[in-house]
């Protein structure tokens, strides 16, 4: 699992929860909220889908780490790797 893979995982989740959004030109370094119409319930959806589809837990204190695709990748990579290593 690479950071690029993780960005794709997150984008796939967003494409489900925000199906009206054009995700073709999302800038990885820019906050998702600043370029897409996402609210707090949508971020909870991202957390839920990471849990359901990938078995990844994101504690509430770490929600801020999901701000951009880049920060998602940095934060989630060790979690995905730990899971893969089990």
């Amino acid at each position: 699992m690479t950071k690029e893979d993780i960005k794709k995982v997150v984008l796939d989740i967003i494409s489900d929860i925000a199906p009206d959004e054009d995700l073709s030109s999302v800038k990885p370094e820019v906050r998702l909220r600043d370029q897409l119409s996402l609210d707090s319930m949508d971020f909870l959806d991202i957390v839920m889908e990471l849990r359901k589809k990938h078995g990844i837990e994101v504690p509430e204190a770490d929600y801020v780490q999901l701000a951009s695709l880049d920060s998602c990748a940095d934060y989630l990579l060790p979690k995905f790797q730990a899971k893969a290593g089990k």
Partner: protein, 413 residues
């Protein structure tokens, strides 16, 4: 005390299993076209059900559809279509003076069952329970989704009235308009009940779930071999205004609300009481200033249960015997029982009779139950009525709630 303002219907939007507009619905009722599907119901296998096929994306973004409820989508469709039908100029309207009043039989069962199923896939760990559950299941959900979609800032709520809910929504709206609480009301009834297995299982275990090898014949009120209710989804929402306001803007008036009554049996949770039903119709007539003979069409509630149909026929006979100009029909034979939407949809299907003069029949009657014989009952084929000036719409529900709503052709004394 000055008389209360007169209330009129100036628009209607609907989705029924056999039509997504009043014109389509009406055409199918007059052509005798029922539309009942067979669907897979969780834990219960295939069951007959009335399924609507409107295009929700006409009025909602896909995200709204995903985050909301099925009944929210039904409500938004109906309200938006009603607005378009009314000719109201939406952009110039003060939306703080608009109210939304929707009747529901139940709400929240669908989402709750779905989430119980969802967490069962995860060893019943509630951390997998969706955070959307509460906004989806609060009882005002269908009406609230309409306000969010349309930017309505006046009052909104649902009226829980079992299967009398469609009439109850209209009655509530008429009262709020008369009180001056709002200037425009979106009102009617909605239902998503085919998506909850609990409703099917409850009726099945009550011996009241309809079935037939041909789904379109499963709902057969008044037939000797009827065997219960066909559960359906649907909605009908009307635009209501005070008469003076409607006239001032040159609105097309579909009907005037003439009178109504809601009362309670206070006898049994599920068995209807024909004495109270007759009282309900009589009080609605009195409030409308009408005699039974002034009503030319009675739209029955009959759901095709063994006892319910007989009880209603008894009540209708009691009130309308001696009224040779009064016809009686039923719409559930075409679309099943649309629960919270039933009363509102059944009224809608009959409204065009003010213009076209036809009375659609109750269909699927192969062998009329003698106990369901009612003078003027229109069976299997439509009839051309000499005159349709007023319609009485019956809608009854569990816990002994009865409603009768009378609408009349505008301009008739």
């Amino acid at each position: 005390m000055s008389p209360l303002p007169r209330i009129v219907i100036t628009g209607v939007g609907l989705t029924a299993p056999n039509g997504n507009s009043l014109a389509e619905f009406r055409a199918n009722l007059l052509a005798g076209k029922a539309r009942i599907a067979e669907i897979e119901v969780r834990h219960m296998g295939r069951q007959p059900a009335g399924v609507c096929d409107f295009d929700a994306t006409r009025w909602q973004k896909r995200k709204e559809i995903r985050n909301g409820t099925r009944v929210g989508s039904i409500s938004i469709w109906c309200a938006r279509e009603a607005l378009a039908d009314s000719g109201l100029v939406w952009d110039s309207l003060d939306r703080s003076r608009v109210g939304v009043y929707l009747g529901i039989t139940e709400h929240g069962n669908v989402e709750t069952e779905n989430e119980i199923h969802n967490i069962s896939q995860f060893a019943n760990d509630t951390k997998y329970w969706t955070h959307h559950h509460n906004p989806r299941t609060v009882a005002n959900n269908p009406a609230g989704e309409v306000t969010m979609n349309m930017g309505i800032t006046g009052p909104h709520y649902t009226i829980g009235a079992a299967c009398a809910a469609g009439n109850a929504g209209l009655i509530q709206a008429a009262q709020m308009l008369q009180l001056g609480e709002v200037d425009v009301a979106f009102a009617g009834g909605v239902s998503e009940s085919i998506h909850t297995f609990g409703i099917f299982a409850g009726f099945k275990n009550q011996g009241a779930l309809g079935s037939h090898p041909e789904p379109a014949k499963a709902s057969r009120p008044f037939d000797r071999n009827r065997n219960g209710i066909v559960i359906s989804e649907g909605g009908a929402i009307y635009v209501l205004e005070r008469l003076d306001d409607a006239l001032a803007r040159g609105a097309r008036i579909l009907a005037e609300i003439a009178g109504w009554c809601i009362n309670s049996d206070a006898t049994d949770a599920v068995l209807p009481n024909p004495d109270r039903q007759a009282e309900c119709m009589r009080l609605a007539l009195r409030r409308a200033g009408m005699n039974p003979a002034d009503v030319h069409l009675v739209s029955t509630h009959a759901t095709a249960t063994a006892l319910g149909d007989v009880q209603e026929c008894k009540a209708v006979r009691e009130v309308f015997s001696g009224c040779p100009g009064t016809f009686v029909n039923n719409t559930k034979s075409f679309i099943g029982h649309c629960m919270g939407a039933a009363g509102a949809l059944e009224l809608a299907g009959n409204l065009p009779s003010f213009v076209d003069g036809w009375v659609h029949p109750t269909i699927n009657v192969e062998d009329l139950d003698p106990e369901c014989e009612v003078p003027g009952l229109v069976v299997n084929r439509p009839v051309r009525a000499p005159k349709i000036d007023a319609i009485l719409n019956n809608s009854f529900g569990m816990l002994g709630i009865n409603s009768a709503l009378i609408v009349k052709k505008y301009g008739v004394a």
